[in-house]
Amino acid sequence: MRNNNVLGIVFASVGDEKLGELTSRRSVASVPFGGRYRLIDFSLSNLVNAGISKVGLITKSNYQSLMDHVGSAKSWGLDRKNGGLHILPPYGRASSGVYVGQVDALYGIKHFLRRSTEQYAVICNSNVALNIDIADMIEKHIASGADVTVAYKHGDLPKNDGDIMSLTLKDGRVNRIMMYTEHKGECDYGLGITVISRVLLMSLVDKAVAANKTDFARDILMPNVENLVINGYEHKGVVAVMDSMQGYVGANMQLLAPSVRADLFNKERPVYTKVKDSMPTRYGIGANITNSLIADGCVIEGTVKNSILFRGVKVGKGACVENCIIMQGTEIGSGADLKYLTVDKEVKVGNNRSLCGSPSYYVYVNKGTTV
């Protein structure tokens, strides 16, 4: 633990546009995931589990639901006298507006960066669910003497619009960064997690802003592979990139595999989330559950198969929920039949209603809808 010598910076909105209706009223950071989490829980927990006690959370738009979720940051132990969670919304100066890219956003929090005393900063996005050992990454960064260390994963490049870097490395050092490439097959791709010294970060951001640049990876890292020592840190564990609605569904459904859960919900590095104090889940007579991940506070009297149920979901008698993601507080009436759906929060499905998507296209049901 290197308490207080590393600063965390989390982008709440990078990748908002990829999740369609899921992010129409929330930023990607507060998209519900895995039965009881919001995506930001992974970023915050990763940082906190590395002993980081000061985190700046950069918000852009649609952040009311995120504010509601993080509150005073008690749930992550970030309600601190020294450090803790700093929420950094846009409009920091009278002349500034909503930022246009990460560089602009980092420039907008210049004051926060300048006043911080930590030697290093860890920057991460909120559109990836992963449990990564940031403490180890920082240690390797310091030991190697690199200027920048970026986390990467070896595997199929997720869907992207030029916002995910693919890398080539030699002896741990990144010697080439590609973006906007049509990559086929496996490669090493960036996870949006960067370790860098705070002072270097500020100077790189200043230079980029002076040149009217906006993107951190494209405008700061890519042109500097030779001037800076950029190292790679391979993450071998599970990575779920929320690159599309389908990607979101797949990322949730893969949690039904024990190996994925064991990695993502690592007992040594727990994933913390806002506590709701709901009672344990109650299974009634006639309940029939197979292969499902179920959060607390549910009342289940029907059939649930291959599904993810968030907190406080009610499944009535004789109802059948198959291959669905059902978010918090949704109530499914008795005899209803749901297949291949992503059902947002607080939806009411009447008795004996039937709704069906397909394995390749999960139909999305909007928050608060009555079916």
Partner: protein, 405 residues
């Protein structure tokens, strides 16, 4: 310090010896309940929900787990700018040091703590019961009647009355007599161990009681009778919702399974009166394709691949394939391996039931019904392969492979 109208004092030092192995390493208020709670969550949540923000928790017996659990009081929203929750163990004074000799003595030794807040009233609670109660209503009645002591009472049956402290009250609610476990009860109003005192009066009686030779320094046995004899104004406060003492293995088991009974009115899901508990940051529960679950309560972090019927699984419990759990409480972190059977039993925290082992018996299987009871496996113990633990057995050490006890 600002004046606080009412300070709550929670008596949490009791050993709860009737719970046997379940309280070997923890105080009774720290015993798990209801899948994700501990008994002390009930009085503390009631305090928070009733608007009482200054609580002293008197600990004595095995306080480690309890102290850790209470922490800063965050869990119950009792980490306050003023007041909040305070753990009060016995301490050394210039005149010597003493354990808490009785419930009244525990409060007596902490007069200094109470006086810091200069309260009008003191609410005395115990950490032994499962109930939801709005203490502010009781305090309101105490004020309205101008009472010196108000005692919460529950209407029990005449038969049950013989096991409780019984308040004999006039129709206007004033108490004229108190009888501890009467053979011939005159009334059925049982004391719930919840008192509101006008602090000035209580202080006087506590000091007198401390001076008295031979006093057991107990509220029920000494202070309440002394106040009655002294002609103080004492009222009952009637309570008629769910309340259960969880002092014995059977009553603890019963009170847990009450949560599965739709006819019993103990709603822990009421958003207006939440029962808070400490959260461990666990993932949702996973129910596999081989599992069969009916009429049960299951908590976070559980992995269930076997059969669970009419049972409560606390957090992080594993039930492997072909294991059977019926009419049982499986406390946090316990593991029931494949092919094991657990019925009519309480398996304490982190215990392991190895494959093929059988713990507990149903009343029907038990030859002698009088000898039937709930089997209990102590925390951290292992019941090895193919061992059998009979009904009502309280297991305090590992059970060897194939053994029958």
């Amino acid at each position: 310090m600002k004046k606080t109208e009412c300070v709550a004092m929670l008596l949490a030092g009791g050993q709860g010896s009737r719970l046997g192995v379940l309280t070997q390493n923890v105080a009774k208020p720290a015993v798990p309940y209801g899948g994700k709670y501990r008994i002390i969550d009930f009085p503390l949540s009631n305090c928070a929900n009733s608007g009482i923000d200054t609580v002293g928790v008197l600990t004595q017996y095995q306080p480690l787990e309890l102290n850790d659990y209470i922490g800063s009081g965050k869990t119950w929203d009792l980490d306050r700018l003023e007041g909040g929750v305070h753990v009060l163990p016995p301490y050394q004074k210039s005149t010597g040091s003493d354990w808490y000799k009785g419930t009244a003595n525990a409060i007596y030794q902490n007069i200094g703590f109470i006086e810091r807040y200069d309260p009008e009233y003191v609410l005395v609670l115990s950490g032994d019961h499962i109930y939801k109660m709005d203490y502010s209503k009781m305090i309101k009645q105490h004020k309205a009647t101008g009472s010196d002591c108000t005692i919460a009472v529950l209407n029990v049956t005449l038969e049950e009355a013989k096991r409780f402290g019984i308040m004999n009250a006039n129709p206007d609610g004033t108490i004229y007599e108190f009888e501890e476990k009467p053979a011939q009860p005159k009334s059925t109003l049982a004391s719930m161990g919840i008192y509101v005192f006008t602090w000035a009066k209580l202080k006087k009686y506590l000091c007198e009681d401390a001076e008295k030779e031979g006093s057991s320094n107990d509220f029920g046995k000494d202070v309440i009778p002394a106040m009655l004899a002294g002609g103080e104004k004492m009222y009952v406060f009637r309570f008629d919702d769910y309340w259960k003492d969880v002092g014995t293995v059977e009553s603890l088991w019963d009170a847990n399974l009450d949560l599965l009974n739709p006819n019993i009115d103990l709603n822990l899901a009421d958003p207006g009166w939440k029962i808070y508990s400490k959260n461990e940051g666990l993932p949702p529960q996973y129910i596999s394709a081989d599992a069969k679950i009916e009429n049960s309560l299951i908590s976070e972090g559980c992995e269930v691949c076997g059969n669970v019927d009419f049972s409560i699984l606390f957090s992080n419990v594993t039930v492997e394939k072909d294991a059977k759990v019926m009419y049982s409480l499986i406390m946090p972190g316990a593991k029931i391996e494949s092919g094991a059977t657990v019925k009519y039993a309480i398996v304490a925290e982190n215990a392991v039931i190895k494959s093929g082992a059988v713990v507990g018996e149903s009343p029907e299987e038990c030859a002698d019904l009088d000898a039937w009871g709930i089997a209990v496996i102590g925390d951290g113990l292992t019941v090895n392969k193919n061992a059998t633990v009979s009904a009502k057995k309280m297991v305090t050490e590992d059970v060897k492979e194939g053994a029958k006890i």
